[in-house]
């Protein structure tokens, strides 16, 4: 199947996904379950990685700005910008694409190969709407909070790294973080996050929903979905940056 066919099939899938849920009560239950699975259970990994990567960014910036003519506060400024602009929205989304994307593909793919999706269809349930819409809503609304958490912890990790290593003082770092603060950068990061969250929910769902075969094919589909979600995040990142910042 060529790329055009995949895109067509993906768009057709989305048309079926975005219909009115058949039962509000069932949809609500599914939504809370997905928020827990896709969002709540990702807090730990995002917190852990954000904290340490923030520390690494601050340390590397400090090691590359050793000139006495450059104020130490620039380390905090540079770390803040890196974390808010790229690390938190893009890097964290790629990590989520790996963690959540493989989960989505394997869970939906397993439902496909064990006829659970057929069972839904036989009951007269729009399986795409039932399975995918709660995932989209959960990721699109929850991931901005995760990314904001990642921003805070990344900057905090940078401050801790400086204090522990002695490469810069905590006060210099805080001064840099507060310097030239532009709220639009947060908006930009959150717009990117929403787009990435949509990709993280839909691309793996597509790979899982249309899988054919058995457990081996489900495994292959999981790998493919992570690769494609990552590729699409990187491409979307480029175009969004071009549109929003230039």
């Amino acid at each position: 199947m060529n790329y055009i066919e995949h895109i067509g099939k993906y768009v057709t899938m989305l048309k079926q996904v975005f219909t009115k849920p058949q039962r509000a009560r069932v949809f609500r239950e599914a939504l809370f379950r997905e928020i827990d699975e896709l969002g709540h259970k990702s807090i730990g990994i995002i917190a852990f990685i954000s904290f340490f990567i923030g520390g690494v960014i601050a340390l590397q910036t400090a090691l590359n700005l050793e000139s006495p003519f450059i104020p130490k506060s620039l380390i905090g400024f540079a770390a803040k910008r890196s974390v808010i602009l790229e690390f938190a929205p893009t890097f964290c989304s790629i990590i989520l694409a790996g963690k959540v994307g493989s989960y989505i593909t394997s869970s939906i793919g397993t439902m496909r190969v064990t006829e659970q999706i057929d069972a839904l269809e036989v009951m007269g349930i729009n399986s795409l709407n039932y399975l995918v819409l709660p995932k989209i809503i959960a990721t699109v609304f929850f991931y901005p909070f995760l990314i904001i958490l990642g921003m805070f912890l990344g900057i905090f990790g940078g401050w801790i790294a400086g204090v522990i290593s002695g490469l810069f003082s905590g006060m210099d770092f805080v001064t840099g973080v507060q310097m030239d603060f532009d709220p639009f950068l947060i908006t930009y990061a959150l717009i990117k996050t929403v787009v990435f969250a949509f990709l993280i929910a839909t691309v793996p769902s597509y790979h899982g929903y249309y899988v054919k075969g058995g457990s081996l094919e489900v495994g292959k589909a999981s790998t493919q979905s992570v690769v494609w979600t990552t590729v699409l995040i990187v491409i979307a990142n480029y175009f969004l940056t071009q549109m929003l910042l230039t």
Binding site: Q22, R23, M123
Partner: protein, 254 residues
């Protein structure tokens, strides 16, 4: 009552079902048998609406598939129960949630009323004290019973089963067969079973449809199948020595 008229279905230019005409009556357990690749699964999936026939009609209690509106189709799907080969229970849901699922989706009953209905059907399939277990914690036979309970929880008019005995030991297979037969008699359901199990053919087949290469090669009851001289049926059903002897003994008796 289901009436199938000249049903044709193919994939990628290969014709799988080549004009099947038959009917299934309420209160009867009808079996579809045939070799692997004979078109049984495609036939069953066409009956439940997962495949759209290329030609021919399927009439369910007077309403033809080709005349169904979207609302008719939605209504029809609520009137059918399906037991899949691998049970197809939702892994992330408990037994109770699995059985309650159709009620939650299609009725506005209060929770306690739904729970009463769930407990009733679980008792009916002899599965008590398993409400809070997940499918992975159940044996194959128990999973099949949950699947039957889920299929009948909405009081269906039509029950379809795809190889309900596959992977089960002979004793459990008989229990499942008898359960389906009892439920069919009790609720006057039109039941269609896709099977390879010759015990089922001999025991519960009120009507048997034998498919060969996408064509209906024979149909009759489980009594008639002993007497038939249709070579294809005889070769398929009595392929084992044991069944050959059983048939011979039956023919000698009459």
């Amino acid at each position: 009552m289901i009436e199938v008229n000249n049903l044709r279905k193919g994939f990628n230019g290969v014709e799988i079902l080549k004009g099947i005409t038959t009917s299934f009556k309420p209160g009867e357990t009808s079996l579809i048998i045939g070799q692997s690749g004979s078109g049984k699964t495609v036939f069953l999936k066409s009956l439940i609406g997962l495949h759209t026939p290329e030609e021919g009609t399927i009439v369910y209690d007077g309403l033809a598939n080709v005349d169904m509106t979207i609302e008719d189709r939605r209504q029809f799907r609520q009137e059918l129960g399906m037991v899949f080969q691998g049970s197809a229970l939702f892994d992330s849901q408990t037994v109770e949630e699995n059985v309650m699922f159709p009620l939650k989706m299609f009725t506005k009953k209060p929770e306690d009323e739904m729970l009463d209905r769930v407990n009733f059907v679980l008792n009916r399939v002899n599965l008590e004290n398993s409400n809070k277990k997940f499918p992975a914690e159940l044996s194959g036979g128990m999973q099949k019973r949950v699947a039957i309970a889920r299929a009948i929880v909405m009081n269906p008019k039509f029950l379809f089963c795809d190889e309900p005995n596959s992977g089960l030991d002979p004793q459990t297979a008989i229990v499942i067969d008898n359960l389906i037969k009892e439920i069919t008699d009790e609720y006057k359901i039109t039941t269609v079973i896709n099977t390879h199990d010759m015990n089922s053919v001999m025991e519960i087949g009120d009507k048997i449809v034998f498919l060969k290469n996408g064509v209906k090669a024979w149909e009759g009851s489980h009594k008639e199948i002993f007497k038939t001289d249709n070579e294809a049926v005889v070769d398929f059903v009595y392929s084992s020595n044991l069944f050959k002897k059983v048939r011979q003994a039956y023919l000698n008796d009459i």
